[in-house]
Symmetry: none
Subunit: 238 residues, 4 copies
DNA sequence: CATGAATGAGGCTTCATTCAT
DNA sequence: GATGAATGAAGCCTCATTCAT
């Protein structure tokens, strides 16, 4: 009976992907000791493969070669581990797109381009942690959730402002700022659903590519189907 | 801290949103009886709010006013309920973008536009079921998962073909078919993360808007930063 | 390592004492089903022998031949089982000493006698449940604890009033009402520390005996050591 | 509901009652170092507030500002700490009522009075440690329990002998020695359930008061309800 | 069909105790 | 002596699932 937790990707499987190993460990505050950082890395992998609720605290600690109770020496609860991961990821993204190198770019085009490229690149490079950070929000307590929502909002504001500036200055086409910003963020985030570091795109390349798409979205005026020289037969088809 | 299953959206909450009520019940095969269909609808809401693993079979059955055992009269297991939901959703999407009204459109521009509009519209209208169908794949058994992957692939092929056709016929710019198709699908799916039926966009409007963005992505040639008339100071900044 | 829970009396041991079997089952509200009542009886025995915290939920349910989880079909938590026991015991005592047959006795002497006899008799007859009810209060939640304190207070009031009446009417000696009432309650309760139904005293006999002691305490004026005809040598000894 | 260990009295609370601070530290053999004595004092408070099983070794050591492992530098186990407390308390009581000043009193009245006064006074003064010593016996190992039972028996014998002497010499009424001794001990012990040093009675006053009650119990002949001048109506009522 | 008590397999967390530093 | 990370053995409680009614 009960065919529970058929976990498609086990910790072992992931161990086989060296790219996953390389990524998370660079994420955590160095103020933490080595063991808690390893636990966070293990948790990221487990949560990303099986989801928060399908991951046991045993999975996390045994991923570091420790006993079940060891987790609680360093974190008050499983939920706190999740929170730590999500909070860190959200903060890192925000600070990565808020660095002076990006913020100080005067030209709206280059500014947005840099923003999107960095945002996308970060999510690609940290796609495992990002998956947890985007898809496991339901595992957070109400209080922790609120805290994350704040950071998300700040990040959104950064993008909306960038698009807005381009429109206001007339460099971009006359587009719907809120909707287009939302779409740009979608492009930069949704890749976590399918991205793999060992695929054909490096994080940097994917960033550039996505930035190009974003620019097309903001710089092109709406396409008028009639004016687009579309044949008569298809006009009626719609 | 962190209460067990703090369920941001409870069944009750969702009950309060009539839009959610209206949507799922239209999804299920009419060959099924009324009770199983109600159970599926209840399950969709629970899975969407709390996730598959955080949802209990009691949540599902009590959402229809039935006792714990009732679920098993109609479904062999909780995982089968999930499978039924995900399979139905995937099939509906595929058939919705494969209808003659779309397939027979000759003009690549109008064809892609219709495709994206429909795809987006479907996900917006059924955003609750779509959330389950996209984010709870990890809850499926390996065998069921495979079955879903097939359908997803077919859907992807439809989009890739549409983009390809535009490029081949020279109607679209000379773009990277695979990457752009992927990005278009991202736009049409990612809205399930934030879309609400009671928001400012109707599914139809969002579909049109997204279609426009997709057209911009396929019809605009790459933007040359130098040629874009960017000022000198920022040129060096990059 | 760890020689935890050496439980002097196990459920089995107690099973051997038929007197224990006879007592508790008569305590519970008949509105409850048979299984919950059996669980309460089992819990009383476990808590009395090992204490609340040293009793496992498994001990309780296996004492009725059920599986570990069965307890939770009938009670929300272990603490609720304790509360139910303590509440029932406290209420029964109060109502037993508040019955018309006692309350309506006009004569203060006979009134107090009846009160003490009944109070003592109840604790003797239900000494196992009473032990839980008196010594395991620390296991209650704050809210539940408050509820019990209320009932205790009511019971205390009954005794204090009885003593007061005797003093006011001049039937008793001129004693300290509060302190003597407290002492009388001590006599009626402390027997739960050592009483056994199979000992030489029946609950009724012990009740009568204790009532006699209580009467001596209220009807005798303070003893003056000097006037008590005590020899000179001992006077200085003090 | 019901939080784990809702500890009505925490170490902090107790810290606030200077009387509690003053009492236990005087109990321990001076042959022990200062740290172990402080640990015992901390343990007494914890065990008294929450019970042995609900007290963690961390509670005890942190109550002295030490780390978890510190306890084991001085005691082999938590149970040994409990044993040390209970043994010390029991021995102190026995020796306190066995001092020459009491034993040499010739007069049975003054002898019993002194015995009860001292016994009561000790329990009042050390009511916190006494609570542990009386109510946490179930936490002891079988071997340790036996050792304690011995001491208790010796103490009981002292009281029984005192009462017996009074009866034999005709100074006391013709009472049931065993039962009355038991009742007297009840009066001297049960106060630990409710006594507080900051209440209206000092240990000495409570001792005197209880001694008076004991004397009334041994010196008064049984009260004959008929002869007690009770009115006719109540005679039949019984 | 539906019920709901019961099961049994964990899952999260706690905690007495150990041990390297 | 003291520390505090680590252990491993439970303990409370949950939950998918079964089955007699």
């Amino acid at each position: 009976m009960a065919k529970r937790r058929q976990a498609r990707f086990t910790t072992q499987d992931l161990e086989g992907l060296p790219e996953l190993d390389d990524e998370s460990p660079t994420l955590w505050d160095e103020s933490r000791g080595e063991v808690p950082r390893k636990l966070l890395t293990s948790a990221v992998r487990c949560f990303a493969s099986n989801g928060f609720h399908a991951t046991t605290t045993r999975d996390i600690s045994s991923g570091v070669g420790l006993s079940p109770g060891a987790l609680y020496v360093h974190f008050p609860s499983k939920e706190d581990v999740l929170f730590e991961i999500i909070r860190t990821a959200h903060r890192r993204v925000l600070s990565y797109v808020s660095e002076p190198a990006v913020l100080t770019v005067e030209d709206p085009v280059r500014h947005l381009r840099a923003l999107v490229a960095r945002y996308t690149e970060w999510h690609a490079r940290h796609h495992v942690a990002a998956r947890v950070s985007q898809y496991e929000l339901a595992g957070l307590s109400a209080a922790h959730y609120e805290e994350i929502v704040e950071v998300r909002h700040e990040t959104n504001v950064v993008f909306r402002a960038a698009v807005e500036r381009g429109v206001t200055t007339g460099v971009f086409a006359d587009i719907d700022v809120k909707r287009v910003s939302r779409a740009i963020l979608s492009l930069g985030i949704d890749l976590i659903r399918w991205y793999r570091l060992d695929g054909s795109d490096s994080p940097g390349q994917l960033g550039e590519f996505t930035a190009q798409l974003a620019l097309k979205m903001v710089m092109t005026p709406d396409i008028d189907l009639e004016a687009a020289g579309v044949g008569a037969q298809s006009t009626s088809a719609e």
